[in-house]
Every structure is written in C-alpha cells, then in structure tokens.
C-alpha cells in the first residue's frame, strides 16, 4: 500500500468523481449520510440498478452526487415519483431522499400512503430539525423551545405541537414486512448497516423501507463543530431514539 492511497479521501465507488468535492457546507450531515448510503450500495453491488430521487431543499444538491440515474423532483414529491418508477420497473432499486420538511410536512401524505401500500421503495429522511433551504424556518421536527425564522420566540408545543416522530409513525402503519429504522450521522457504521438492510428488504421484494437519519446543519444552527456534535448526539436523541423499529430480516433468522 502506498502513502498516496492512504491519504486519498475514501469515497464510495458509486459516487461520481467529476462532481466532487460536493457542495454541502462543512459539517453538513448530508455528505456523511450519502456516504453511508453509497457504501451500502457498493457493498450490495446494485449501483447499476439504483434510481435515485431527491427532493427540494439541501437534499437536491445530491442530484449529481452518484454515478446512478437520478431525478430531482418537486418539493415533497420524491416519494410518489420513485413509487411511479418502481411500479413501472420493479427490477429497479428506488431510493427517495429528502429532508424533514419534504418527508413530514409537504410530502407527509405521500409518506403515509406509500407506507400504507407497502411500496417496495426506500425512503430516507435526513432530519436536521429545520428548513435549511429557505433560511432556517421551523420544521415538523423542530425541538420545543428552539428558535427558528418562523418561531423567533422559540417553538411552543402548545400552538405548534411536538416534533414529528417519523419512523414511529411509519412503523405503526406498515405491515411486518417493512423495514423501519432511525440512524444518525454520529454512527455511520450503524447507519450503513441500516441502509443495507433497508435496500435488501427492497431487493427481496418484502415491502416498504424507511430510514430517518439524524443530521446536522451547523450553518443554520450557527454552531461550531463541538456544539454541533453535542446537539446531534445529546439534544436530538432525547426526542429521536436511534435504533431499528421494524426489521423483517431478523424474524426470518438471517
């Protein structure tokens, strides 16, 4: 092994070299989450079968990230577009990638219905507790008391409810053949395993797969590296419990 190969940043094979470095801010969770996804795609050897869909919001910057066929769709509509692809081409591995606004606000009806129909696609929601795209507004996942552009005096659960628990909701409305988990950018090894199981669940034709990934937005949180990690690891996990909620593979004793 030469020194040069050791120093080369480790990039999943399915990432597109020509579009690197990617445009996510330093410390942004998207890069890490998509690296875990890329590793899972590599390890399963499915790069040529993947159709990747991304939403509006910072997730759209992944539109040319992979050497996979990709569609950047409308805000909240990535889930139905990927459902449409899958229904027309069941041999494709369809991944819908979005933020918490796309998943739990504007696209929530699609998430609920795709999950209820047990669509054989993988939906990934990057949860960074606010809207990064339009300047840091409140999201369904914003934590109580957190100040955002549209909750300048802090989120008040009395008037705006509590943070949306996406995987818990999906787990409640899917059959046992669905895979549902919440991972975090703070544990990429675990997140990669979750993506692998979720994709395998789709490959096996079992049913709906859903992974929420806790993510960071230091730019809109205005936090330095230490504060960012503290927030992801300590604050967010108080509301958003990391772990698998449904894992059909386990039941089959695999």
């Amino acid at each position: 092994m030469t020194v040069a190969t050791v120093l080369e940043p480790k990039m999943p094979k399915c990432w597109r070299q020509e579009t690197k470095p990617h445009k996510f801010c330093p410390g942004c969770g998207h890069g890490d989450i998509l690296k875990a996804l890329g590793t899972a795609i590599d390890e399963l050897g499915i790069q040529d079968r993947v159709v990747f869909g991304c939403d509006i919001g910072c997730s759209l910057l992944s539109w040319d990230l992979f050497n996979c066929d990709s569609i950047q769709t409308h805000h909240g509509r990535t889930t139905p577009v990927m459902t449409g692809v899958k229904r027309a081409r069941p041999d494709r591995i369809c991944i819908a990638y979005m933020g918490d606004g796309g998943g739990y606000a504007i696209g929530s009806q699609h998430l609920v219905n795709a999950a209820s129909r047990n669509e054989k696609i993988l939906v990934i929601v990057a949860n960074n507790v606010q809207y990064g795209m339009t300047g840091g507004q409140m999201a369904p996942t914003t934590l109580p008391g957190m100040k955002t552009e549209t909750s300048p005096y802090g989120r008040d659960p009395e008037s705006t409810g509590n943070p949306t628990l996406g995987p818990e909701m999906v787990a409640a409305i899917t059959p046992d053949s669905a895979y549902v988990a919440r991972g975090t950018m703070a544990n990429l090894r675990q997140l990669t395993q979750m993506f692998k199981k979720a994709l395998q669940n789709q490959i096996d034709g079992n049913g709906f797969s859903f992974v929420e990934a806790l993510s960071a937005c230091p730019t809109n949180w205005r936090t330095n590296a230490a504060k960012t990690w503290e927030f992801v690891e300590k604050e967010m996990t108080k509301y958003f419990k990391v772990g698998e909620l449904k894992a059909p593979a386990k039941k089959e004793g695999q």
Partner: protein, 187 residues
C-alpha cells in the same frame, strides 16, 4: 484586505456579482462564483471551508455576516473566533429601517445581537438621503449608544456628501464616506 461573504441571512445582496471587480482592485474576496452554485435559494446558502477559516488570514479581514440576531450568530461558525483579540464587532444601524427607527428600537435590536463593540450610524434612504436625515440618524444612534454604554465608531455617508457633511452635523462622530458598490450586487 480580505472580504468574506458570510451573509446567510440575505443571500440576494451578495459580493458574487462584483467579486472580480473587487479582486482587480487588489482585494481577496472569499465568496462563491455564481456559476459554481446550484439551486440558489432552494438549497440554502452554502458555506465553504475557506470562509470558516478566514480569521486565520493575514491582514485586515472584513466579514459580512448578515443582519440581525441570526446574522450575529453566524460568527459562531468561524474557527478561532473566541481567541481573536483583534476582532471588532460593529453594529451598523440605519434608522430608516423600521426595526431600528427609534432609540428604544435600536437599544432592543443591539441588545439582542449579543457581543457588540461599537455602533456605526449608516442612516440613509438610498438616493433620497439628505443631510437632515443623516443628522437625525446620528442623534438616534448616539442616544442609543449612551444607554448601551458603547462608542459610536463613525457615521457613514455617500461620497456625494463630502464637502457638505461635516463632523459638526453628526455630533463630532468621524465620517466615513462610502462609494456604493452594493446597488449592483443583487443575486
């Protein structure tokens, strides 16, 4: 001299369109090139590593961190901001903006910003600005500064007032005459 575009509050007023012009004048400008961006306004305002490390450069560094409370918090993102002895944070006040139009409003606004070392009176109404308006701004900013126990660093005024506006007009504050580039910097 290094200029750093760290304004993630209002990305529409940006150094991008005049980046090359300023660089031709010998300044270092740390900002995106518009052609290198993607999904402006849909993908958020993106920050790059060289922006976050900008305080480690030699010479004078001017940071545009955007306005208001969210703007001032942008400083948290900079590496080494806590150890910088030379860092000076000036709150630029335009008393023609509705949220800083009275002494009380200016005080409330500046207090919300966190650390501020001095105020600058930049009261103007673009092309409609006259000396009476600048004078009134100097008075309001000065009164607010007294309550806040902060110095007034200067009054800023368009270059066209050189010769007609004097320090006597603005309570003895130093005057910084400005050449305005920003009207050309939309998006």
């Amino acid at each position: 001299m290094t200029l750093v575009d760290l304004d993630v509050v209002e990305p529409f007023y940006t150094l991008r369109p005049i980046k090359r012009e300023l660089e031709a004048k010998g300044m270092t400008v740390i900002a995106w090139e518009t052609r290198d961006t993607m999904g402006l306004g849909e993908a958020g305002t993106l920050i790059r590593g060289d922006m976050l490390w900008s305080l480690h450069r030699e010479g004078d560094i001017v940071l545009d961190i955007g306005y208001g409370v969210e703007g001032s918090k942008t400083l948290n993102l900079l590496h080494g901001v806590g150890e910088q002895k030379d860092l000076r944070i000036n709150a630029v006040i335009n008393a023609s903006r509705p949220m800083t139009a009275s002494v009380d409003d200016i005080i409330e606004h500046v207090r919300a910003l966190g650390r501020v070392d001095a105020l600058i009176n930049n009261t103007h109404l673009a092309d409609e600005t006259d000396i009476a308006l600048i004078r009134e701004g100097a008075r309001l900013v000065s009164e607010a500064a007294q309550v806040l126990n902060l110095p007034v660093e200067a009054t800023a005024a368009d270059e066209k007032f050189r010769g007609s506006l004097t320090e006597d007009d603005v309570l003895g504050q130093p005057i910084r005459f400005l050449t305005r580039y920003m009207p050309r910097t939309f998006w």
